[in-house]
Structure formats: C-alpha cells, structure tokens
Amino acid sequence: MNSLRRLGRRDGFQAAWLLAPSAIGFSLFYLVPFALGIWESFTDGAGAGRSQYVGLRNYDALLHSSAFRQAAANTLLFTSVGVPLLIALSLGLALLLNRPLFLREGLRTSIVLPLVVPVASTVTIWQIFFDWNGTLNAWLHGLGLERIDWLQSDWSLGAVAVMYIWKNIGYNMILFLAGLQSIPRTYYETASIEGAGPVHRFFRITLVYLTPTLFFVILISTINSFKVFREAYLLAGDYPYDRLYMLQHYMNNMFASLDVQKLTAAATLMLVCIGVLVLVLLGLERRFRENME
C-alpha cells in the first residue's frame, strides 16, 4: 500500500498519465495497425477471425517472386546512387550560397521552391519532358542525336533520380546552410593564419563540424529516396519498365490484388532494412560525437 502511494507520487507515473491521451492516439493509429500488419505477414489470410499462423511461408513466397527481387534491387540501386549524388550536389550548393553572391536570396528561394509544390501538379511537366515524343527527345533530335525512350528503358531510373534531386535539393541545402553557419568563423581565420589552403580548410574544418548535420541529412535523404515511388508512379503508372519498379510499386500492386500477406511481409522486410540502416547511422553518429568530445 505504502509502496503504491510512493509510486503514485513518482514523476514517471505522473508523466504517464499526462502522456496517455497522445499515447492512446498513437497506439490506435500507428502502433496497433503496425503490430497487426506484422502479425498478418505470418498468417494465411483466410479472413477475419479465421487466419492461422503459417510461419515464414509468406516470406518464402515473397522471396521467390522475381518481381519482388527486382523491386528490392531497384530500390537499393536508387538509394545507393541517388543519396550520395543528392548530398554532394546540395552540399556544393550550400557552400556556394553561403558566401556573398549576386542574387543570393533569390537563388536560395528558387531552389527551395520545388519543396512546396505538390508532386502531382508538376508531374505532367516532367512527363512532357521525358516522353518518347517529349521535350528532351526534341532537343536530342535538334542536336542530331538518336532519341531515347527515357521512361521505357534503363534510363527511367535516371529520370526519376533527376526528379528526386530536384525535389529534395532545396531542403538539404537549408539544413547544410544552417550547419555551415553554426561553424565559428574564427576557426577559418585561425586556419588561414596558420597557412591552410581552401581544400584543407574544407576537409579539416567544414566537413568535420558539419558531420552531425550530415548524418541527419543522410538519414532524411535515404528515407525520402524510399518515397520516390510517388514520382515513379505518377510518371509511369503501376507497371512501369522493370528498372523503375520500386518496392512500393510491388506493395501497391499487392494491395490492389488484395494479397495482404505478401504486402505485409514486404512491408515488414522493408521496415527491418530501414531499421537496421537507421541504427547503424545513429550508432556511427554517437561514436563520432564521443570522439569529438
């Protein structure tokens, strides 16, 4: 009795009560559906109340589907090429716009603009741009080159990568700019006096002090690269050329064909992969911070 009263007075317990409303909301709309989804991936999906546990059978079927393997390979390829490219470009832009430049404010705004424009409204423009009879091919033709079917060949992944970079570069640039401005100017001044060149200053000061920001940007960009499905879907529909076929295409199509088992199994696998990636990144970041201290 006494211990119970003590428990009631503890901060943690009080906090739990105050957190309860949002915890309930979170559970109801995220946690519970999420757990049910994972459970669903281990059942045979015979319908409400009659499902039975089937172990890893759905995962087995999933890994035997060549479309799924293709989707996983494409997503991996896209992320491993798109994210470094995006980060390099946005870091370059941030460095460029961090120094006095003609029309700097205007340039910054124009680069951030794609972020606030809904994808669906710009996709038509991109479609016209990349179409077989579109703008880009008209330019190629004008230059006397053979035209390329951008969306129906291995180029399609490149086309979506361009959209992805266009869309995300502004956001990353802002993050980098904030990171750059938090580096004390005196470091650079001291380094200059000591005779360090610009390359040396970039690698030894800028990059080192930007690392925490960099980790965050990598994380966000990676997650955004998984979301590129939206662009790919609007651009090329639910069964695009196979190079453009992402994991979420697979999940979307499984949803359309009511195959909840494969869908949830794929989602769970993807979750595990993203989870591992995030843990590794966070671990690296922690180790780096400890080193710095």
Partner: protein, 488 residues
C-alpha cells in the same frame, strides 16, 4: 514506469483484438458462431476457403425465418439506377427487409473526378470485404472479381440455387449462367444483363464472292485465309473494319497460353512471338485486308456505329449489341448477317458475350439467404428487368431472364419498327433478329474488359504503328513490363 506502459499497450492490443471488424450491427457476432458451428470450428475453415459456401451450407440456409428483421447493404456501380428503382418495390413486398443502397456515382465534373470516384468505390469495397464486412450484395463489374473468388470472399450461388425450389435455371439464359461459373465450378457472380459481341457481315457480298463460311468453328488463321479469298474476288476493298491495336489486344488474349510460358515457377512472356504477331497485323492493314476505321475516316466509323451510315467499306465490322433494337439500328449492310467472332485455336463453338451488372453475395454476409432473395428479385420478370425499356433510354443489355427477353422480342415483332430519335423509324429485319436470337442462347465465351495486360500492350502500339519503334523494340518493352506483372 516501463511496466505501466507495457500493461497499457497490452490492454490496447486486447481491446483492438476484441472489437473485430464487420458491420456495426449486432447480427455479426451471431452468424460468426453459426459459421463455426456449421464448419466444425474455425480450424477447418481455412482449408476450404475458396468454397466457403460449400463448407458452410447449413449456416447459409438456417435463417429462413421470414419475419426476422433483416438489413441488407447493396453496393452497385453501373446498375445503380436500375437497382434504385427496384429497392422500394422490394421493401414494400418484404416489410421485414430494409435495404441500404450504396450507389457509386459514375458521373462527375470531369474524367478525373469520375476515375477518383471509381477508385474510391473499389478501394472501399476491397478493404471492407477483406476485413470481413462490406455490403451483402455487390455488383462486381468494376471490382477485382477473380481476386475475391480466390480469397473466398463470395458465396457460391450454386449452393443457394440447389436449395431454392422457386428458382428454375430454365427461366434464364442457362448458357450465360453456366459460363459465369469460375474454374472450380462455383457460381460467384450472377450477371443481370449481357451483351452480344460479334461480327456483322454483308451476306450478299459474301455469297457473290462464293466463299463458304462456317462461323461456328472458324479460327483466326482461317478467318485470315477467308479474308484473302474475299479480297481477291469480291466487291469490297477490305474485309474487316477494325483498329490495329484493338485487334492485337484481342490476339494477345486469345493466344495467351502460347505467348506466356512458365519455367521453374517464373512466367515468361515471349516477346519475339509477339513481335511477329505485331508484324502480321501490320501487314494485314498495309495490304488493305483490314480497314482501319480510326485512321481512315473517323466520321464514317462513328456514323456506322450510330447505325445511320449504310456504307461500311468492308465485308465485316465489329459489333456490340445490347438489345434487339441495337441489332436493327447498327446493321450497316443491305443484307446484314450476324457472325460469331473467330475463335482461338481449341475453343468450342459458340459466340462471345460480355456480362453487365454481375452481382455477388458477400461470403461474410450475415444474411446470405436474404441477399439471394434480393438478387433473385432483381432477376425476376416483374422487377427491374421488365420495365427497363420503358423507363430508361437505353437498355443496359439483354436481360438474363428469358421471359423478359421473349416479351421484349414479341413486342418488337408486333411493332415491326424501331424508333429512332431525330430520324425515321427503321423496319425490322426478322431474319437478323432470328440470328441474334440463336446467338444469344448459344453464346459461351465471356469477353472481359481491358485488363492490365492489354493496357500495357496498348501503351507501346502507337509508337510501333507510327514507325517510331520497330516491332522488336516495342515487343521487348511490352514483354519487360508484362513479365513484372506475371511474376509478382
């Protein structure tokens, strides 16, 4: 602290597990127990998933109590007007039954709006059915019917028909009911109407050319052979008025088994064979064997569709009939004869048709019997099928009910003319009507709407036919995308 959170979570999980999905109404729980009793517990149920109705026969028929208040939810897409008209009549006849009609809107302020509404209709019903709820009676024309059957979400109506002495299959077009059955012999969808797909041909011109035609058994290669003979000897410059991509889509459906091969669990689309097919069709159009209605003269094609133009430039033209009046209106030749479409190799004889307003009963419905009664009423000659022509401008199709059809036919024979808006009435052609009549009760091949496969094919054909891509290139892209579709 940690423990509290975990307990809280556990309670939440339990709560969510208890509040199972389904209709908010009370009867859900009741029938659940019935199902379990009927199938000997939930453990045995999943194994008989596709034939749920067979396994749960007893539970389907034990709610025959006529006075028990019943609430039916009916969801329709295309035939909502027709169903709407009949709901009140049904409720008046059966005071214990209340019907809630979820009619999806097929109109909107633009095409986008319509497509969004359609997608919404599909998604809502998919989710509800998968969760074990959803409407009791569903019109399946726009829904993934085969997926539903595969997952055991629909009642096999054969079971209901067997137990229903009031329902006599002979009152209906039995051939249509028979071919509405799925591969496992279950009748999961009952079409309210159907339309006839065939070829109109100029019988006089064909007779003059002296070519014998056995349209009950002809295949596409034979059709091409006949076409060549006709072209050499006859009056018309072309043989079939059609459209290249349309013809190719037909070919791909008909030759599906040859085009798609399966090896170690993976399906493979034969792009080379398809490229060859594309070239063939191309040659046929280039040689003028086929007459491209779209590129040659859209206007005359449209007027031929509307039935006014009596100058189709080929021996045959594709035709879709939704009523006997249509046959008279669309007949484009001085002596028009209705032929069956060429069959795919190995198919039995019999014409082609497509189903309109296919109704299914939800396998999780608490009142399958009452739902069946309503479906039966919709098919009944006193209900919607009989007054369709008076109340609605155009018929949604030939009624499944033979009595209604016979009535319509007799009426037409008596009138002797088909009225047209803004034009002179057309004299009926009794011989043609007899042919339609024969085809109706002989139709045995269902034609389904454009599938994903055909959409993919279509996307590349334009570039091929306008010489922008070679047959190999276009076929390779088509094959690439179809392989994805096949191996998901």
């Amino acid at each position: 602290m940690k423990i509290t959170v975990w307990i809280g979570l556990a309670v939440l999980l339990l709560l969510s597990a208890c509040s199972g999905p389904g209709n908010p109404g009370a009867p859900t729980a009741k029938t659940d127990t019935k199902h379990e009793a009927g199938t000997g517990g939930p453990a045995s149920a999943p194994s008989s998933a596709p034939g749920t109705a067979n396994g749960a026969d007893d539970s389907l028929f034990d709610d025959v109590d006529a006075d028990e208040p019943v609430k039916l939810v009916v969801a329709t897409y295309y035939v909502s007007e027709q169903v709407q008209a009949v709901v009140e009549a049904y409720e008046a006849l059966h005071p214990n039954v209340e019907i809630e009609l979820h009619a999806a809107s097929t109109s909107g302020k633009d095409l986008n709006d319509v497509m969004n509404k359609r997608d919404q209709f599909i998604q809502t019903n998919n989710a509800a059915l998968l969760a074990g709820g959803g409407p009791d009676v569903i019109e399946l024309d726009e829904l993934p019917f085969e997926q539903y059957v595969k997952r055991g979400l629909l009642v096999d109506m054969n079971g209901l028909i067997e137990h229903d002495s009031a329902f006599d299959k002979a009152d209906y077009f039995t051939n249509i009911i028979e071919h509405a059955q799925s591969g496992d012999g279950g009748l999961y969808g009952m079409p309210m109407y159907f339309s006839l797909v065939g070829l109109f041909g100029d019988a006089d011109a064909i007779a003059r050319a002296g070519v014998a035609i056995d349209d009950a058994n002809w295949t596409l290669p034979q059709f091409i052979e006949i076409a060549k003979q006709l072209q050499e000897t006859g009056d018309y410059p072309s043989v079939l008025a059609s459209e290249p991509s349309y013809l190719l889509r037909q070919l791909i459906t008909e030759h599906y088994t040859q085009l798609v091969t399966e090896s170690d669990g993976n399906a493979h689309f034969d792009a080379e064979a398809f490229a060859e097919m594309m070239r063939q069709v191309r040659t046929m159009f280039d040689e003028g064997l086929l007459y491209n209605v779209v590129s040659n003269d859209r206007a005359s094609a449209l007027s031929a569709q509307a039935g006014r133009g009596r100058g189709v430039n080929a021996y045959f033209s594709d035709t879709y009939l939704y009523s006997l009046q249509d046959a008279i209106r669309f007949a484009g030749y001085p002596n028009t004869k209705l032929y069956a479409k060429p069959h795919a190799a190995g198919e039995d004889s019999g014409g082609y048709y497509s189903a309109v307003g296919t109704l299914g009963i939800n396998a999780h419905s608490p009142h399958p019997r009452a739902a069946w009664e309503f479906v039966k009423f919709l098919l009944d000659d006193e209900s919607v099928q009989s007054y369709i022509n008076d109340h609605l401008e155009s018929s949604p199709g030939f009624p499944l009910n033979k009595h209604v059809y016979e009535q319509q036919k007799q009426q037409l024979m008596q009138d002797g003319v088909v009225k047209q808006r803004g034009a002179d009435a057309l004299e009926i052609d009794r011989a043609l009507l007899e042919q339609v009549d024969a085809q109706l009760s002989g139709a045995s091949h269902i034609v389904r709407g454009p599938s994903k496969l055909e959409e993919i094919v279509d996307s590349q054909l334009e570039a091929f036919f306008s010489d922008q891509k070679s047959a190999e290139e276009a076929a390779a892209i088509i094959g690439n995308r179809i392989n994805l579709l096949l191996n998901e």
